[in-house]
C-alpha cells in the first residue's frame, strides 16, 4: 500500500467513525454520569450505574448514556464540562465533592439539566437529590443491638460529614432502643473507596471485641472482614450477599433507578424543573435487602421497624435527642429533628464511645 492510499484509508475510516457518532445525536437524549469511584466498587458508584442502566432499559433507543468513573473531586470541573460539551442534555454528578464544579458548569450551560447527589446548592438548571440512608441505619442498628453477644458493635466511617454522622447516630439509637447497654466503636477510613484501608478499619474494630460491623464506605471489604472472622455485618449501598453469604444480615440498598428514570422522562417530556428531593423508604429510594442469618424474632422486629418508618409513625431522630456532652438538642421538627438539623448534623448522640473528629 502506498503512503497516499494509507492516508486516504485512515481519513476515510476516521470520517466514517465520526459521522456514525454524529448522525443520531440529534434525536437522542444523551444522559451523562460522573462517578467518584470505579463502577466496580460494588457499592455507591456501582449502584448509580445500576440506575444508569435502568434509564437505558426504560427508554431504549431514545436515550444514550455515558459515564466517567473515578473522577477526582479537585479535577471534576473539566470532566463535567466535557459531558456538557459533547451533547449531553442531562448530567448526574454523584458525589458531594462535585458540588461547586457542578454549580460552575451549570451556570455556564443554562440549557443543560444537571442533577447533583447529596449536595445543597441548587440553580434553575441544577437539582439536588439524596436519600435518607439514616432510616436504613436505624433498622440495622436494631438488628445489631439484638445480634451482638459481646455488647460492642462497630462502624467504619468514610469522612465525618453530616450524612455519615447522622448515619452513625441513627445506627446507635436503633441499637440502643433494643439494647440499652450497647457500646459503639467508630473507625474512620478517610476515603470513600479504598478496600485495603476499609478492611483494616474493619479488622481493627473486630480486634476490639466488635462482633457486628456496619460501614459507610463504598466497598464490601469491611463486610468481608467480618465474614472471615465468623462475625456479622451489613451490606452498604448495594446488596453484598455474594461477598459474605454468612455474615450479611441485610443491606441498605440505594435505589436510584426509579428517580433516574423519572428525571430522564421529565427531560424528554419537557417537564423537568429544578427541585430538591430527599427520599427514604417512603419514596423507595432506600430499600432493605432480605433479612438473613438471624433468628425469626429479630427478623420480625426489623420488618416492623422498616414498616413503621415507611409509614411515618417512627422517626429515628424523634425527640428528645441528647448530645454526647449531655445537652438536649432543640427540637425543630414535628416531634423530631428537622431535615435541616439532620442534614447538618455534626455531633454524636450520648453513649457513643468515640470522639467526633472536628
Amino acid at each position: 500500500m502506498s503512503s497516499r492510499t494509507l492516508i486516504g484509508a485512515l481519513v476515510g475510516a476516521a470520517a466514517l467513525a465520526f459521522s456514525a457518532g454524529g448522525a443520531d445525536a440529534q434525536q437522542k437524549l444523551k444522559v451523562g454520569f460522573i462517578y467518584v469511584g470505579p463502577v466496580g466498587d460494588h457499592g455507591w458508584s456501582y449502584q448509580h450505574d445500576v440506575g444508569r442502566k435502568a434509564i437505558e432499559k426504560a427508554f431504549g433507543d431514545n436515550v444514550e448514556t455515558t459515564y466517567v468513573e473515578s473522577v477526582p473531586e479537585a479535577d471534576s470541573e473539566r470532566a463535567i464540562e466535557q459531558l456538557a460539551r459533547t451533547g449531553h442534555g442531562l448530567i448526574f454528578t454523584t458525589s458531594f465533592g462535585f458540588m461547586e464544579p457542578t454549580l460552575k458548569v451549570a451556570k455556564k450551560y443554562p440549557n443543560i439539566k444537571f442533577e447533583h447527589a447529596t449536595g445543597f446548592k441548587r440553580a434553575p438548571n441544577l437539582s439536588t437529590y439524596a436519600a435518607k440512608f439514616h432510616e436504613g441505619r436505624y433498622v440495622i442498628g436494631q438488628i445489631a443491638g439484638k445480634m451482638t453477644k459481646s455488647g460492642t458493635i462497630g462502624y467504619v466511617g468514610a469522612f465525618p460529614i453530616p450524612e455519615v454522622v447522622a448515619g452513625i447516630n441513627s445506627y446507635f439509637l436503633g441499637a440502643q432502643s433494643v439494647n440499652p447497654g450497647v457500646k459503639l466503636k467508630v473507625v474512620w477510613a478517610n476515603s470513600w473507596y479504598d478496600p485495603a484501608k476499609e478492611a483494616d478499619a474493619g479488622k481493627a474494630l473486630l480486634d476490639q471485641g466488635v462482633d457486628v460491623l456496619a460501614q459507610h464506605t463504598d466497598s464490601p471489604a469491611p463486610l468481608q472482614a467480618a465474614e472471615a472472622r465468623g462475625k456479622f455485618g451489613f451490606g452498604q449501598a448495594s446488596d453484598m450477599e455474594r461477598f459474605a453469604p454468612k455474615a450479611q444480615l441485610t443491606a441498605i440498598v440505594d435505589n436510584w433507578s426509579d428517580y433516574y428514570v423519572a428525571r430522564t422522562k421529565a427531560v424528554l417530556d419537557g417537564t423537568w424543573k429544578s427541585e430538591d428531593l430527599w427520599g427514604g423508604f417512603d419514596k423507595g429510594m432506600v430499600v432493605m435487602s432480605p433479612f438473613k442469618n438471624m433468628p425469626d424474632d429479630v427478623k420480625k422486629l426489623a420488618e416492623e421497624t422498616e414498616a413503621a418508618i415507611k409509614a411515618g409513625t417512627l422517626n429515628p431522630f424523634k425527640c428528645p435527642i441528647v448530645k454526647q456532652d449531655g445537652t438536649t438538642v432543640e427540637c425543630k421538627g414535628n416531634g423530631a429533628l428537622s431535615d435541616e438539623q439532620v442534614l447538618g448534623m455534626n455531633f454524636y448522640v450520648k453513649g457513643i464511645d468515640d470522639k467526633l473528629p472536628q
Partner: protein, 358 residues
C-alpha cells in the same frame, strides 16, 4: 543466555532527538492493538485521544490548565533530581503552599482589603512550600536522615493538616458543616488570562519558571554546581561546593515552586479550600520531570503530553465508552516506551550466550 546493556561510547544526537518520537509511535501501536483486540477502531481512538483535543480550543485550554501545576512542580523537582536528591514530597509542599496562601485569603475574607491580597497569598504560598521543603533538607544535612522517607511522610502530615483545618477552624460556618472553607473573595482569586476562560495566571508562572530555569541551569555557576554535585559529588567537593548548601537550596526552590502551584490551583481553579485539592499532581510531576529528562523545555513538553493523555483518556471514556483502566494503562505504556527508548539510545544491547566468559 542473557541480555547485557553496555553504555555506548558516543550517542548520536539525531537518535537522541528521534527516540521520543519512536517511543510515541510504539506506544500508540501497542495501545491500538489492544483497542483492536477489544473490537474497537484504533483509528477512532487515536482521533479522540490525540487529534481532537489538539484541534479543539476548549480542550487545548484544559490541557494548559492541567499542565500548569505539573510543569511548575516538575521544574522545581528537576533542581533536586539533578543534584541527586530525592524529593518525593512535592505533593505535601503543594498542599502546605496552598494552606499558607489561603490563610491570607481567609483572614481578609469579607473585608475591603485591596489589591495586595493576591500577591501576598502567592508569596505566602511560595514561602510555605519552601519552608516545608526545607524540613527534609534540614534533617538530611543535620542528621543524615534519608530524604526520600521524610519528604514522602511529610506528604501525609500536610494532607492531614489541611483535613483538620477544613473540618475544624477554617470550616465555612454556613456550609452545613461540610468540610470546606468559604469561597474566596474576588480580591483573593487568581484571574483567568482570557475572559470566560479557565487558564489562570498560574500558566504564566509556569512559563516564567521554565525560562528562568533554562537560564539558571545552562548559564550560571549555580547550575553548574548542581550538575556537578549530581554527576560527580567528589569533584564538587574538591571544587569547594558545599553539599549542605546545595541540598538546602534545591529543596527550598523545589518546595517553593510546588507551593506556588498549590496556591495558584486553589486561588485560580478551586476557589476555596477543601479536603482534596490535588489529584496527585505532586506525584505525577515526578513522572513529568523524568519524561522531560530534567530539561526545562523537555519538562514543559512532558507536562503538556501527560495532561493530553488525561484529557484524551476522558474523551475516550465519553465518546468511545472505553474503560478508564485502558486509558491509564496507556499512560503506563507511554512512560515505559519513552524510558526504554532512552535506555536503548544510550546503551548497546548484546545477547551473551551461556557459558561466556564473565
Amino acid at each position: 543466555m542473557r541480555i547485557e546493556l553496555s553504555p555506548r561510547a558516543s550517542v548520536s544526537p539525531i537518535w537522541r532527538a528521534i527516540a521520543p518520537v519512536l517511543a510515541f509511535v510504539t506506544a500508540f501501536l501497542i495501545a491500538g492493538f489492544v483497542i483492536w483486540l477489544m473490537g474497537r477502531s484504533p483509528i477512532a481512538a487515536f482521533q479522540v485521544y490525540v487529534s481532537q483535543p489538539l484541534s479543539d480550543p476548549w480542550a487545548l485550554q484544559e490541557i494548559l490548565v492541567k499542565a500548569t501545576p505539573l510543569a511548575l512542580i516538575a521544574i522545581g523537582l528537576s533542581y533536586c533530581f539533578r543534584a541527586n536528591l530525592w524529593n518525593i514530597g512535592a505533593e505535601g509542599q503543594y498542599v502546605i503552599g496552598a494552606v499558607v496562601g489561603s490563610w491570607i485569603a481567609l483572614k481578609t475574607h469579607g473585608t475591603d482589603a485591596g489589591a495586595w491580597v493576591l500577591p501576598a497569598m502567592l508569596a505566602a504560598g511560595i514561602l510555605g512550600g519552601a519552608l516545608y521543603g526545607l524540613i527534609p533538607a534540614f534533617l538530611k544535612t543535620r542528621f543524615g536522615v534519608n530524604e526520600i522517607l521524610t519528604s514522602l511522610m511529610l506528604v501525609y502530615i500536610a494532607q492531614l493538616v489541611l483535613d483538620y483545618l477544613v473540618r475544624g477552624p477554617w470550616r465555612d460556618p454556613k456550609g452545613f458543616n461540610f468540610p470546606q472553607s468559604v469561597t474566596f473573595d474576588p480580591a483573593a482569586t487568581l484571574p483567568p488570562i482570557f475572559d470566560a476562560g479557565r487558564v489562570h495566571y498560574g500558566a504564566v508562572f509556569a512559563a516564567v519558571a521554565v525560562l528562568v530555569t533554562a537560564v539558571v541551569l545552562g548559564r550560571t555557576l549555580f547550575g553548574y554546581r548542581l550538575r556537578l554535585t549530581g554527576d560527580a559529588p567528589r569533584a564538587a567537593r574538591f571544587a569547594g561546593f558545599s553539599a549542605k548548601t546545595t541540598t538546602l537550596a534545591v529543596f527550598a526552590i523545589s518546595g517553593g515552586l510546588a507551593g506556588l502551584a498549590g496556591i495558584s490551583e486553589v486561588a485560580g481553579q478551586i476557589g476555596q479550600l477543601q479536603p482534596s485539592i490535588s489529584p496527585g499532581y505532586g506525584f505525577t510531576a515526578i513522572t513529568v520531570a523524568y519524561l522531560g529528562r530534567l530539561n526545562p523545555i523537555g519538562i514543559l513538553v512532558a507536562a503538556l503530553v501527560v495532561s493530553l493523555t488525561f484529557i484524551g483518556g476522558e474523551s475516550a471514556q465519553i465518546m468511545l465508552k472505553l474503560p478508564l483502566d485502558l486509558t491509564q494503562a496507556f499512560q503506563g505504556i507511554l512512560l515505559l516506551c519513552v524510558l526504554a527508548a532512552d535506555a536503548l539510545v544510550s546503551n548497546r544491547v548484546r545477547i551473551v550466550s551461556r557459558g561466556g566468559v564473565r
